[in-house]
């Protein structure tokens, strides 16, 4: 009897799934209708359920999200917000990609601008925000230039969550202990590397198993050799990536590598493993984004108060000066084009973006993208140093892998690893990047 019941249920389940399968065969995201959206957004007194997809399952950031959600629900008694947290790497590579392909991501969701969201925007799965921004005068609260990478075809799709800037984090204790000067030029950097190596100290943290981690350094060197303006144009496909300056940036990376700047077996080390040694106070230098600041100031690590953040050392004859930085605003919050309640979703999205911007600033995770009002003493001291560095910033270039699209990203990682392994020459690197970029652009125009 029991078995029969179960069986019936199973069959029903199978049928539903099979039917659903038939109904949506070959269905891309184009099938969705806009009608239900219009119907329901008019009423305001009804119960509104929104989902918010974010990437902070860990306690510290997760609590920030929860506290805002609570506050928002108190202010809007008819609104219920379900916050769904997924670990960032899984979210970026798996969860969001699968869901956004069919437009079934959360009403409000964390996303990345630049190349990452381009497909979703083109497929019509992301809500265009211009009208809503106009209506709410949102732009007045934003810092200048923070919308750039959430804008596609002159229309805004993403609200910036934060900004980052790259810096060379130096452990002053170790520099003093071994009597080494904190480098300002590339030559001094090389000297520092050699000095630490001579003392059998790994000079710089790098986990080259993760292509992006090598990219951080090479991309920053390219800002020095080729200048921020040119790099931005080149990464957009307006100029070639196969230039002497970019070859030079790869050469410099190789020089560092040959001088023994990076940990032994770095190609087999992940970014996290490598950076941990810096946080433990075993490695004197780490080039990274401003998010490294939160680790520098964390009680869990051994380097509180020992860190000096300096700009990437300058390169003789390079076109980019000390005031050009890697960085920008690439982390965004976007709205699902299928949301039933665009107005409420927008209100929530703006609220939480501002709030997160402030809180992340305090804990040293990132620089704000909004005009925030934060008590200076609450801000992470290392982040404060970076903020001072960028006061006179004259240009920012995003990490290449957030700028580029699809196949070019993978090619970028492959070529960077090749440089580190000695199987790719700097010339091949620059030529390879240009070719990959052309291929992607060709695919777009077809």
């Amino acid at each position: 009897m029991k078995a029969k019941k179960v069986l019936g249920f199973v069959l029903a389940g199978t049928m539903i799934a099979a039917l659903a399968g038939c109904g949506s065969t070959g269905g891309t995201a184009k099938e969705k209708t806009d009608t239900d959206k219009k119907e329901s957004s008019k009423e305001s007194g009804e119960d509104i359920n929104l989902t918010f997809w974010h990437i902070w399952p860990d306690a510290e950031m997760g609590e920030i999200v929860d506290s805002y959600v609570e506050k928002f629900e108190e202010e809007h008694p008819n609104v219920h917000i379900e916050a769904v947290a997924t670990q960032e790497v899984e979210y970026q590579n798996n969860k969001l990609k699968v869901a956004a392909a069919t437009g079934s991501q959360g009403d409000v969701f964390v996303c990345w601008g630049g190349g990452y969201a381009k497909n979703y925007v083109e497929a019509g799965n992301v809500l265009q925000l211009d009208e809503l921004m106009e209506k709410n005068n949102t732009k007045d609260d934003l810092l200048e230039g923070t919308l750039t990478y959430g804008t596609y075809d002159d229309k805004v799709y993403g609200l910036p969550l934060k900004q980052w800037a790259g810096a060379l984090f130096c452990n002053e204790d170790l520099f003093e202990e071994y009597n080494v000067k904190i480098p300002e030029t590339f030559d001094e950097l090389l000297e520092a590397v050699k000095a630490f190596r001579a003392e059998e100290v790994t000079p710089m943290a790098l986990g080259a198993k993760d292509g992006w981690h090598i990219g951080m350094i090479q991309n920053a060197l390219a800002v020095r050799t080729e200048g921020a303006d040119y790099m931005n144009r080149a990464l957009q496909g307006e100029e070639t990536l196969d230039t002497e300056g970019i070859v030079k940036s790869a050469e410099l990376l190789c020089e560092l590598n040959e001088a023994g700047a990076f940990p032994e077996g770095t190609l087999g080390l992940g970014a996290e493993e490598a950076q941990e040694e810096f946080y433990m106070g075993m490695v004197p230098m780490y080039y990274g984004g401003s998010w490294v600041a939160s680790g520098c100031d964390s009680d869990e690590n051994d380097i509180q108060g020992k860190i000096k953040a300096v700009p990437m050392p300058t390169v003789d004859g390079g076109k980019g000066g000390v005031n050009s930085f890697s960085g920008g605003a690439i982390d965004m919050i976007m709205l699902n084009a299928n949301t039933k309640y665009p107005d409420m979703a927008y209100e929530f999205a703006v609220g939480i973006t501002k709030y997160m911007s402030e809180e992340a600033y305090k804990i040293g995770d990132s620089l704000p993208a909004w005009k925030v009002d934060v008590d200076e003493s609450e801000v992470s001291p290392t982040l404060k140093q970076i903020e001072n560095l960028i006061k006179n910033a004259d240009g920012y270039v995003l990490a290449w892998d957030t700028f580029l699209e699809g196949t070019a990203i993978e090619k970028h990682y492959e070529l960077l690893q090749g440089l580190m392994a000695g199987t790719t020459t700097p010339e091949e690197f620059a030529a390879g990047m240009q070719e990959a970029q052309l291929q992607v652009k060709r695919g777009d125009t077809e």
Binding site: L7, V10, L11, T14, A17, A18, G21, T25, G26, T28, A29, K30, N93, N94, K97, A100, A101, N119, Y120, E122, A123, N125, A208, K209, D210, P263, E264, G265, T266, L267, G268, L269, G270, E273, E405, G406, T407, I409, E410, E414, Q417, G418, M420, A421, T423, T424, G443, E446
Partner: protein
Amino acid sequence: MERALRDKKAICIFVLPALIWFCAIALFPVFQSAGYSLLDWDGVTKAKFIGAANYIKMFQDPLFFKSIWNSILLAAASVFIQLPVSMILALVLAGGVRGENFYRNAFFVPVIISGTIIAHLWLKIYHPSYGLLNMGLGAVGLDALQREWLGDQGTALLACFVPMVWQYIGYHMLLFYSAAKSISPEIIEAAQVDGASRFQTAVRVIIPMIVPMIKACVIFAIIGSLKSFDLIYILTNGGPVHASEVPSLLMYKKIFVTNEYGYASAIAIFIILECLVFTFIVQKIFNHIQKD
């Protein structure tokens, strides 16, 4: 009885639930994927029909061939190293040892632990500066053998194989063991009364009787190798510079990193066909053996 075994209604009741469930959920999407493999599609925006272009691209891609070759090497290692070890352990245990149950359970432990933790464990073992392996080699004076195991293009693939082969030894052992145990004791006793040693009994009586299970294990081992993903994903992510690339990982990257959904689907279809071909070959070989 003959009539009962031909009862159409009974056959449907027994087969259809499993068949429908399986076809709707697992098999049907394969045909969808086959369809996608003919498209130039990023998984999101509008797809374009391009016929066999993805397959042509695939067969011109040296990286693809490298990944296939790597997976075949892994399959060979599984069949010729992992399975014999499992078989020996299974026969020793099934032959009766003190603490048989304890050993059987202990050997199976790595299978129980999720691939993620196994991979992290081996990351630590291989760590170039404070990994167990290099430390051990140093301790016994074999400094010359110390390597950057996962960071060296020459050793990365081998370094990935070792934990993969190791983890599933207990899995195959359990299967062999349960098959050997289901042979009725009389048969084994009869052989021993005839004066066969334990070794001879194992080779002449037990192994021939568990050939169906051996066949199943060979198929598992080969297919598992051709589809391998988890451990390599964490250990090297296919690197350095694709030295340890395998087809599933390549496909994963095509879907989730480079957004080449059509191309990835072509690789998926190829993996399925490849597995089918290998299974077919194994079946043929074993049919031959079983007839003899």
